[in-house]
């Protein structure tokens, strides 16, 4: 019987009715009295010097209130980067200024040149178009290898090269890794591209700000995953607004996938403009603008080498990666290809030696930052692809080569050569589960049947581990983080026994209002409907680092649990007083306090009421009220893992790939709500299939974005994906958070791309194209067909 209550129950989402009735409150649904609108004039070239920016004609147009240019924001701070990466030679990352509006130079297509504030959105857009702009164009720097050449034009004239950093992980291990390659029986080498993606949450970004002149307080409503982080970054580093005078609200947010972590210039623009103009200012991104301004994801070019012994045991691997930063750094741009990438790049394997080198490169393209998985999809992809290639070369099955190299269940905690300690896991169990649920034993028959229909059928595997649940603050501080990554919670018991939970995590589709209530209900033994979860408002929540990196359950949920435990402890003391018993004799379960060995008992709501109506109270010993806060800072990351299988059919006539089956066997540790977890798996896998087969961000030679709308950038539609079979019954609880949870938000996007590509390559090789060892994503019909013609 599945649980119907608390942790482990598939509780229906309390968020759903408001969304289903059209009663959600997204940022663009917020309209403030007297509100003006901003439209931005954006650069239509990728690189150049602004020679003329004449706003006079535009300023005279109907409805225009004021036009701002770069000069109006010169005193503002640079849009911040939250992590400082140190290069192999000890130097710090290059960190050029990232202005809110261009300051004489444009460095990527879509960079904002000016912002027009007008009475209506249409008037603002009309006037933005009427601004006269002349830009002396430069040949843009687009290719990363070209960008690193000595004679390349620096994207930032203040820098003498386009290299942001050259990072080696772990540099001290490099010599030993290289030596292992010298002596290896076999070395498999693969060069690959991890294609640039656009996150594309369905809700475009939006920001609306107001300023109260009387109190000197600003309020910013924004589509962000982390309102406190925006308050801190924008307040302290960009606009110099004290935090006590700045409130940031992230109401219902329509998906994010990383792209709404960062502090964007539009947020700072509307905030300052609202203050200067004395009226609310709103900006709503169009989808076209989102393609030009939302941070994009991935974009790695990698050479990976794997050294093996004669049995197929991994001896060492090393990578050399170019990671595209685009034109500017955003909040997590530099941590994504480094500390979110290297530590889990070794996967679930016992490989004793590893070295990861990443050079980050500035180019005249839209900035790149974290996208669902952030560094871990890139690491998983390169390793899982090179393993398949090694298996082909050595005549091993893709299952055997993985299984024989797995860390064994009795080897945890396992110290990897990439600095992290995997606390728990059972990789054999998830692989066995995958083989079971996918009926892998029946694959050959399915392949033969497909061949009868003229289709090439293939099966691809991924077995992976990720490093998420960001993060232990002390460790990341040593690694260059400029913030801590704990989470906070308040659990407030109301006088009649209901509970309000305030969390620093932010839900933008994850269903926290439901799962966090389950955590508290599990502890208090009261009905979930008596518990409300409040999030997304810096005026309500003490502090918070927000939601990304699959951290909300493992860090935010743990903080809620700890605060709830404090509440129970205090309530138990009070109950003991009320029942005239020794505290040690009072136990609490299912919402009842009882004195052991007696028939005395008190229910939850009676104790809650007594805390607020303290007529009979241990005065002097306890304060009235029943509310506790907690901060949770984990001692380690969490390490979710899984085994994924993808089955495809390729049409040899067209190169078109049809995903006919996808199975995911995951170990997320303890699962709070299996229904919601399965939904996260589905969505992540669909995004990974999208990256593998369809999605690609393409710039032409002049730096124009060719894939700038849903007509050119192909996110999966309903008929492009199969129904999925997902499983999370293999559970090795996390050892270092009190819930035992491991995080599930990014798993699908991490594990699925290599499974898809491995399946296509398997299909082609099984169809007689033995020379094909790799095709770069996205595996469009054209690319697959061309590969078949060549091999």
């Amino acid at each position: 019987m599945p649980k119907d209550h608390g942790i482990g129950a598939p509780s229906k989402r309390r968020e759903d009715p408001r969304f289903l009735m059209g009663k959600g409150r997204y940022t663009d649904d917020i309209n403030l009295p007297g509100q003006a609108y901003v439209a931005f004039r954006r650069s239509d070239v990728a690189s150049g010097t602004i020679t003329r920016l004449d706003i006079s004609r535009a300023a005279a147009m109907p409805g225009v209130i004021r036009i701002f240019t770069g000069d109006d924001f010169k005193d503002a701070g640079s849009l911040p980067c939250a992590w400082e990466v140190t290069s192999r030679d000890g130097s710090k990352q290059a960190e050029p200024r990232h202005p809110i509006l261009a300051e004489g130079v444009v460095r990527h297509i879509g960079e904002a040149l000016a912002g027009v504030v007008a009475e209506t959105q249409a008037e603002a857009m009309d006037a933005a178009e009427a601004i006269e702009v002349e830009i002396s164009e430069h040949v843009p720097v687009l290719d990363m290898a070209e960008a690193l050449k000595d004679d390349a034009r620096p994207v930032h004239e203040s820098l003498n090269s386009n290299q942001c950093f050259d990072w080696g992980f772990i540099e001290d291990n490099k010599a030993a890794v290289d030596a292992a390659f010298e002596d290896a029986h076999h070395v498999t080498t693969l060069e690959l591209v991890n294609n640039r993606c656009v996150a594309n949450p369905m809700e475009p970004r939006c920001a609306v700000a107001e300023y109260n002149k009387g109190t000197e307080e600003y309020t910013l409503y924004s589509t962000t995953q982390n309102p406190h982080v925006i308050r801190l970054m924008m307040g302290a580093f960009v606009l110099s607004i004290p935090e006590n005078k700045l409130r940031v609200v992230a109401p219902d947010v329509g998906g994010a996938f990383g792209s709404k972590i960062y502090h964007y210039g539009e947020e700072a623009f509307v905030t300052r403009a609202a203050g200067l103009l004395g009226r609310p200012v709103k900006w709503t991104s169009s989808r076209s603008e989102a393609f030009l301004t939302d941070a994009q994801g991935r974009d790695h070019v990698t050479k990976i080498e794997l050294a093996l012994d004669e049995e197929g045991m991994f001896l060492a691997f090393r990578t050399d990666t170019l990671a595209n930063m685009g034109a500017y750094l955003r909040l997590f741009s530099t941590v994504t290809p480094t500390y979110l990438h290297g530590p889990a790049a070794g996967g679930p394997y016992r490989t004793p030696l590893a070295y990861v080198r990443v050079r980050a490169v500035f180019t005249n393209t839209i900035p790149v930052d974290a996208y669902r998985g952030a560094g871990r999809p890139e690491g998983t992809y390169q390793l899982e692809r090179v393993i398949d290639k090694a298996a082909y070369e050595m005549g091993l099955s893709p299952v055997d080569i993985r299984r024989k190299n797995f860390i064994k269940p009795d080897e945890f905690p396992y110290q990897t050569p990439l600095a992290v300690l995997y606390d728990s896991g059972n990789y054999h169990a998830t692989l066995d589960k995958l083989l079971e649920i996918s009926d892998f034993g029946g694959f050959e028959a399915r392949k033969a049947a497909a061949a009868q229909r003229g289709k090439l059928r293939g099966f691809g595997f991924t077995t992976w581990v990720e490093c998420s649940g960001l993060a232990p603050s002390q460790l990341i501080g040593q690694l260059g983080a400029r913030a801590g990554l704990y989470e906070s919670a308040i659990v407030r018991v109301n006088p009649t026994g209901g509970v309000t939970v305030f969390t620093g995590s932010h839900s933008h589709g994850q269903g926290h209002e439901t799962t966090f209530a389950q955590i508290v209900a599990d502890q208090l033994g009261i009905d979930e409907s008596l518990i409300e979860v409040s999030h997304g408002d810096t005026a309500k929540i003490p502090f918070g680092m927000g939601t990304y990196g699959s951290r909300s359950g493992a860090v935010g949920g743990a903080a809620i649990l700890k605060a709830t435990e404090k509440v129970v402890a205090k309530a138990t003391r009070l109950a003991a007083h009320l029942m005239e018993a020794d505290e040690a004799d009072v136990s609490f379960s299912d919402g009842m306090f009882t004195v052991r060995g007696t028939n005395k008992s008190l229910d939850w709501s009676s104790v809650a009421l007594a805390a607020y109506v303290p007529h009979n109270y241990p005065a002097g010993e306890m304060e009235p009220g029943l509310e506790e806060s907690a901060f949770f800072d984990p001692e380690n990351f969490v390490y979710p893992a899984g085994a994924y299988g993808c089955e495809v059919e390729v049409d040899p006539g067209t190169g078109e790939t049809d995903v006919v089956g996808f199975w995911a066997a995951d170990d997320f540790g303890v699962v709070i709500n299996p229904m919601i977890v399965a939904g996260q798996q589905h969505g992540g896998v669909a995004q990974g299939i999208g990256q593998a087969l369809r999605e690609h961000t393409v710039y032409d030679a002049s730096g124009q974005l060719l894939s700038g709308s849903f007509m050119d950038y192909s996110i999966p539609r309903a008929s492009d994906v199969p129904s999925f079979v997902v499983d999370h019954s293999c559970q090795t609880p996390c050892e270092h958070n009190p819930l035992g949870v491991k995080g599930c938000g990014e798993a699908g996007a991490i594990g699925s791309p290599p499974a898809v590509v491995n399946a296509v390559v398997d299909a082609l090789r099984g169809g007689g194209h033995d020379a094909i060892t790799h095709i770069d994503m996205p595996l469009t019909p054209q690319r697959v067909w061309k590969a078949m013609q060549a091999g």
Binding site: L20, M21, D28, M202, G255, G679, Q687
Partner: protein, 161 residues
């Protein structure tokens, strides 16, 4: 500016509108029906889908003046008369057919239109019908399941987890 009147969820809404005003803008800003969402500017995503005189349309793909005199139903008009969730809406709750909720109004409008014309659609027909509605959260799995369930059919062929 032309004055137009559109019946929105049974209530007549009249306004002077700029000729370039889209129906989606009229619904959100003039009729205050903010459940109709704007997810793109190329009529690809379907978050703005509504029923116009009983037909499924993308409200960003027509001008408000073109809808003068029409009957429009938005997501706000889709609950039962007593305010409770309709069969389709309830199926989305039951089968976790939504996450962030932004595409959801369009999905409900599309699903209702499908079941109107094809009361027992197959999984493939459902997926085909959703061609004009993008979702980035769910991978469509549970949306398809919810629509199948709302049609009274067995959802077992589509795995629960």
């Amino acid at each position: 500016m032309p004055e137009i009147t559109i019946s929105v969820n049974g209530h007549a809404v009249s306004a002077d509108v700029e000729p370039r005003t889209l129906l989606s803008g009229f619904l959100r800003e003039i009729a205050d029906q903010t459940g109709t969402h704007i997810g793109c500017d190329t009529s690809q995503c379907g978050a703005c889908a509504v029923h116009l005189d009983g037909s499924l349309v993308k409200s960003c793909a027509m001008l408000a003046v073109e809808a003068d005199g029409a009957d429009v139903t938005t997501i706000e008009g889709m609950t039962n008369a007593d305010g409770s969730l309709s069969v389709i809406q309830a199926a989305f709750v039951e089968h976790h057919g939504l996450q962030c909720g932004f595409c959801t109004p369009g999905m409900i409008m599309a699903a209702a239109a499908l079941l109107q014309e094809n009361p027992k659609p197959s999984e493939a027909e459902i997926r085909e019908h959703l061609e004009g509605n993008l979702c980035r959260c769910t991978g469509y799995h549970n949306i398809v399941r919810a629509i199948l369930a709302a049609s009274g059919q067995d959802v077992a062929p589509i795995a629960a987890e």
